[in-house]
């Protein structure tokens, strides 16, 4: 916002003072409202096609070339569907829930930088803002599930609350490690802190032992937070029909989907920002076109994260409620706390090569121990005998 303001303030020298400000505010808003929903629409298409490829089939390809108009057709149809509100539902809450589901997801994009200096709002508490906002989405899930007066919806709502609240903790702690290393809560500063090395790659936090652990923790947390497979238990289709949005039809259902996907995309964006160097990449310092190259790198990384999401969805079974909670509290939480301590160690060790080895050893050992403890009671190797 500031960058745009500075850029265009000069052009409007003689005009009223509010005009450049208004434009500077309007452009990011239009960008967020225009570009990210388009990404959502095509994510659904890419997801359907990618799942198709995983399953040896084509996926949508009849509407336009390569099925490129499929999301439009879906959107049009969902817009014109009848809107059903169950007779016993709490009508106001039922109406409000999908709206609330979308708002936090959209707000999340406000702090995701896409090019040097180009972030919709450069908040100096950016990361804090993101977590504060993203937790609000659970409210929508619960409202939707509660207002529907459906037992499956209610079960889904309960699961959603339990899951999102639990995964918030390791996720925030994983982010704390990054904040400690970068020394700032601002997303732009976090990206800047990863600037090192020739091709702008070596400094990414994901290449540090603690950063890698943080990345994995954060990615898992983000997946759970946005209820994606294998953590899609709030809407587990094979168990509780469609979970909290069982009773939603037409555009309200589309809004729920929009909120879910936007949250997943925004979380992917934040993951990219915090661990994968944001917009950093070769060639971002070239004059004039550097900004575009940076945006390209950012969206490329974002796309990779989304594809990773889809890939996992196509291949992994779903975990169970108690296992999900156990995993959050027994594995992720200790790991994330240890990770914070390790970042401190990293910070105070002068020799970075030695520090690399030591921290990697500590984290690896901790992971092995935790995996043993958490899995020992359950998983066993079996051999089978044959009848004589």
């Amino acid at each position: 916002m500031e960058t745009i303001y500075q850029l265009i303030a000069g052009w409007f020298a003689g005009k009223p003072e509010w005009l450049p400000l208004a434009i500077a505010i309007a452009v990011p808003i239009l960008f967020i409202v225009g570009v990210y929903p388009a990404i959502f629409a095509y994510t659904t298409l890419v997801e359907r096609k990618a799942l198709g490829r995983v399953q040896n089939r084509y996926g949508p390809n009849r509407v336009g070339r390569w099925g490129i108009l499929q999301p439009l057709a879906d959107g049009l149809k969902l817009l014109t569907k009848e809107d059903i509100v169950p007779r016993d539902a709490d009508k106001f809450t039922h109406f409000l829930a999908p709206v609330i589901a979308v708002i936090p997801s959209v707000l999340l994009f406000a702090i995701v930088p896409i090019a040097p200096g180009l972030v919709p709002v450069n908040l100096n508490i950016g990361i804090l803002f993101a977590f504060a906002i993203s937790t609000a989405s659970v409210l929508a899930l619960f409202m939707g599930g509660w207002a529907s007066r459906n037992k499956f919806s209610l079960l889904g709502a309960m699961r959603a609350v339990a899951q999102v609240v639990s995964y918030e903790v390791p996720m925030v702690l994983a982010a704390v490690a990054v904040v400690m290393a970068a020394g700032s809560l601002s997303t732009l500063d976090i990206v800047k802190a990863q600037t090192r090395g020739g091709l702008e790659i070596a400094g990414w936090f994901v290449f540090q032992p603690w950063g890698f652990v943080g990345f994995v923790l954060f990615a898992i947390g983000a997946m759970a937070e946005s209820a994606r497979t294998p953590f899609d238990i709030p809407e587990a289709e094979s168990e509780i029909i469609a979970g909290y949005h069982t009773e939603y039809s037409g555009f309200k259902f589309a809004l729920f989907q929009l909120g879910e996907y936007l949250a997943a995309i925004a979380m992917a964006g934040i993951t990219v920002t915090m661990f994968l160097g944001g917009y950093l990449g070769p060639g971002i310092h070239i004059p004039y076109i550097g900004g575009f190259i940076a945006a390209f790198w950012f969206f490329l990384k974002l796309g990779c994260m989304i594809l990773l999401n889809i890939w996992i969805r196509g291949t992994w079974p779903r975990v169970r409620v108690d296992q999900l909670m156990g995993f959050a509290w027994k594995v992720l939480l200790p790991m994330s706390i240890l990770n914070i301590a390790v970042v401190g160690l990293w910070h105070f060790m002068g020799n970075k090569v030695l520090a690399w080895g030591v921290t990697a050893a500590i984290l690896g050992l901790a992971f092995v121990i935790l995996a043993k403890i958490s899995a020992a009671g359950n998983i066993e190797k079996r051999t089978y005998r044959y009848a004589n």
Binding site: N56, L155, M158, E237, S238, R313, P317, R318, R320, I379
Partner: protein, 380 residues
């Protein structure tokens, strides 16, 4: 003092159970099956199976038509495995009428039945993983393999699913050399698919954590509740009708019967994988030894077919368990006086409640998936 501040007595928090009707339209009830579940939070504290939503009066219809006319109806019992269903009825009728089946027909029957078993088991595993939430990938892989087997069935009988292939005293049409080559090709390629399938799934942590020690069925209960098929063998019951009765020519083949130890969902999953490998062994032997000769007993007159008065029970090892037919013939002998089908998946549901109690809702669907029911057979 410690006594007073120790955990809140359960009476203080008032909890309520909720009653949820899972089905008849539910993605993981494999058709129109219903479970009336009582839930305490996520935990199942009561569960009653309710069936009959696909009760198509197969038995009564069969009592109104000739013996032969019932064969196409048996296809629609367990609509995955029309071949073994046909065989069960033909075997029972042959037992009652004392018909001897030619060698070649017996071998062809073994070949198509074992192919059916492979088809059924791979699809069942696919469905089970679908219930686990694997978004269709294993299921669609299984269906890809199924199509290859169905191609063979189609060239053999003219229909994909409802083959209507067997006749009293043999099979309807002969298996040509080209079809034998096709079957050999399927059998040769199948182990690779199975390896791929296992690589993807058998050691997946989520699958192991979800399936192990869930829905345990003890051996004694399994026998007492008349559980049969892979489900009983997963509980360690050494009972395979192919070995016990040695019907057809099963006595000549070298194959083993895998047995589970624990009797949980994972065992039921893995026993099926192992059984598929044994089926491939049987198929290899049967295709190698397939003799020449008649494919149907020439002395059997299918037109105006009659059975002397009396009753009898015949059974085969269908992929889902013991499939039997209890037939009563009366004075005329042209039509069955009483025609009863002993469906394995119906009886395997007896212990569903015992297996599900105390588990979570998410486990109920995979336990049901591991029982392997087909509603056409449960309700007939």
């Amino acid at each position: 003092m410690i006594q007073q501040i120790s955990p809140i007595p359960t009476g203080m928090i008032e909890t309520q159970t909720i009653e949820v009707s899972i089905g008849p339209q539910h993605p993981s009830t494999h058709g129109v099956f219903r479970m009336d579940a009582v839930l305490d939070g996520e935990t199942v504290v009561g569960l009653k199976p309710v069936m009959g939503y696909l009760h198509r009066n197969h038995e009564q219809l069969a009592e109104r038509m000739t013996w032969l006319a019932s064969i196409p109806y048996t296809d629609r019992l367990d609509y995955f495995n029309s071949m073994t269903n046909n065989w069960a009825l033909c075997l029972s009728v042959e037992k009652l009428a004392g018909i001897k089946v030619p060698e070649r027909a017996e071998y062809i029957r073994v070949i198509v039945s074992e192919l059916t078993r492979i088809l059924n088991h791979s699809c069942v595993i696919g469905f089970m993983l679908q219930d686990l939430g694997a978004w269709g990938t294993p299921l669609l892989y299984a269906f890809r393999e199924r199509e290859k087997i169905l191609d063979l069935f189609e060239s053999l009988s003219g229909a994909r699913m409802m083959c209507n292939y067997m006749r009293f005293g043999g099979v309807r049409v002969d298996m040509t050399d080209a079809m034998v080559a096709q079957a050999k090709d399927i059998v040769a390629k199948f182990p690779r698919f199975l390896d791929e399938f296992e690589q993807l799934l058998s050691n997946n942590e989520v699958l192991l954590a979800r399936c192990q020690k869930v829905g345990i069925l003890p051996k004694e209960l399994a026998i007492n509740a008349s559980i049969s098929g892979p489900m009983a063998r997963a509980s360690g019951v050494d009972y395979d009708i192919r070995k016990v009765d040695k019907y057809g020519v099963y006595g000549r083949f070298d194959f083993r019967v895998p047995l589970g130890e624990v009797g949980d969902v994972y065992d039921r999953y893995y026993i099926r994988v192992l059984e598929m490998r044994e089926s491939i062994k049987i198929l290899n032997q049967a295709l190698r030894d397939l003799p020449a000769g008649a494919f149907v007993a020439p002395e059997v007159k299918l037109r105006n077919f009659k059975i002397p008065p009396g009753d009898g029970y015949g059974r085969v090892e269908a992929p889902k368990g013991e499939l039997g037919f209890y037939l009563v013939s009366d004075e005329g002998g042209k039509m069955p006086y009483r025609y009863h089908c002993r469906p394995p998946s119906f009886i395997n549901l007896t212990t569903l409640e015992d297996m599900c109690l105390g588990h979570k809702v998410a486990d109920v669907v995979i336990i049901l998936g591991s029982v392997d029911i087909v509603l056409g057979e449960v309700d007939r």
